[in-house]
Symmetry: C2
Subunit: 293 residues, 2 copies
DNA sequence: CAAATTCTCTGACTATAATCAGAGAATGAG
DNA sequence: CTCATTCTCTGATTATAGTCAGAGAATTTG
């Protein structure tokens, strides 16, 4: 990696910690220490379980308990037991708590405003565009792709989402039992594998491989969650799958796809896949591709 | 200001606090609490006075003293009295301290690397370019322009820098006593005024006005420090001066300039200044401009 | 030269942000 | 029904990041 690139990133980090330091101080805004403010924010308008709060902020249970006690004493929230599970407790903001939260919201907005204020029209537009770009790419760089068990909850969720989307996009709907199979055992080493992309622990995409005997790998289940699109994640997933296929000794990759999946087809073409004659009778496929690794 | 702009800035801030939170944890790197690490970093390879350290990090004197004591006990630095001023104490890193500092440096680099790592070539380039843009514009937005006393230290420094630069750029050098005057009393309300641009308390530019009786304002001493160029600061300073001139009841602004100051001439032309016949005999001027407010 | 100021330090104190051990109630698994 | 687990809480304790008051030495100012 280029040194000047890294230098620029470091310089950016320095500038941001400086400004973000300011941000934190403003955000807490003297009424609450940062911890309480974050909690108040995270509880949201509808309330959540303490369990969920702990998970989202990854805080110690004892610590959260104390923060809640403090906010409760200030009359900003109420805690009650869940009806579904007596161990779980639910937190909800009182009207006073909601007001405080709005307060925080306005402070964050004022801060954002203060960043733009001193700039001229065209500089503002440039700054905002560049921020969007940085944000998008940093989020992209936070996505991690790892091998997963196809029977795991995340895997089943991804595949279900994938099927749902196919059902919506294909003209005739989609019935997974009709097409070429990709059962969990076929996507588990050494028969094949499943990759899952995660953003902050949450699954945002998947892709699978079936290994065949003639050193031919078969690509299946390529999917990127709508909220994670435009991050170049499809390309990364494809590269990761190709890497795994190579590691497993495959020399050729096959895949078939439906003509409604235009982004995917575009991606395959740009990634060196050649359209070939149908090599199977997948009923939902219109295009068959191949790539020599 | 557009709401979507502000929304984007807030979204950016949220993403950055998340990532920067990660950064802080990595940066501190378990050997030292953040405070000590910052100090270690700020002392630098050549050492500084405690005074300067306090100023740069804007920390309480008692707190800095304690942090230094702790680092001294760990054998990472030595403190000795200044020879020039017996009250001032100088801090210098020991070889062990320098090693620790290098350690921190490498951690920061590794973090920067980890941000770029998951991205493809073109995404990296885009991220870095966008970061440079965000950084540049945030720095620009941190610059504050205020009215200053022309006899103050910052004012004298700016004007001196300005003269030095003119001396270097004009073919025949520059002697401030030969041109049209702009003495402190002429740049003090109600006779005129001086604006200073500051970035984190440090002066990075100036601009002055002399008010004449016929509602004509005269622009003088427009200067932007080399390190703050490219931030659109010249334009902001000009706008600020025009605003002040209008407030003071001026209806016309005059200025003269030297042909070597091409950026300034460009700025004036783009900002609505018309070139007019010489209205004074400033020996260093080649162009005379006027703008109706 | 005296008085005011500057620079650094120590002592005393505080708030914030945790962490760890363990208790008690509710739930789920066998 | 029993046992392990989950969820939340309390008590005890810690590290970090300060703040405030004032003392003592050196320097600058009038």
């Amino acid at each position: 990696m280029d040194m000047p690139l890294i230098e620029q990133v470091r310089s950016f980090n320095r500038t941001m910690t400086e400004r973000v330091g300011v941000l934190n101080d403003h955000f807490l805004g003297r009424n609450h220490p940062l911890g309480e403010a974050r909690l108040l924010w995270e509880i949201g308008e509808k309330g959540v379980s303490i369990r969920e709060l702990r998970r989202r902020l990854s805080l110690d249970s004892a610590y959260v308990s104390r923060l809640l006690r403090s906010l409760e004493k200030q009359g900003l929230l109420v805690v009650r037991a869940s009806e579904a599970d007596g161990r779980v407790r639910l937190v909800q903001l009182t009207p006073a708590g909601l007001r405080e939260r709005t307060e925080l919201d306005q402070r964050a907005e004022a801060f954002a405003r203060s960043l733009l204020e001193p700039l001229g029209e065209s500089q503002r537009a440039k700054l905002v565009a560049a921020m969007a770009q940085v944000e998008r790419l940093l989020i992209a760089s936070m996505v991690q792709i790892t091998v997963a068990d196809p029977t795991s909850q995340d895997a089943r969720w991804c595949i279900e989402q994938y099927f749902t989307e196919l059902g919506e996009r294909f003209e005739a709907g989609f019935d997974p039992t009709l097409g070429i199979s990709a059962h969990p055992h076929e996507l588990t080493p050494p028969a094949g594998l499943l990759l899952i992309a995660r953003l902050r622990e949450e699954p945002v995409g998947c892709g699978a491989l079936k290994f065949h005997e003639n050193a031919v790998g078969e690509l299946k289940r390529m999917w990127v969650a709508p909220r994670a699109r435009g991050l170049g994640l499809g390309r990364r997933m494809l590269l990761a799958l190709e890497h795994e296929a190579r590691e497993a000794g495959m020399t050729v990759l096959h895949l078939e796809t439906n003509h409604t999946l235009v982004e995917a087809i575009e991606l395959y073409r740009h990634s060196g896949y050649q359209e070939v004659a149908a090599f199977n009778d997948e009923p939902y496929a219109h295009h068959w591709f191949e790539k020599r690794l």
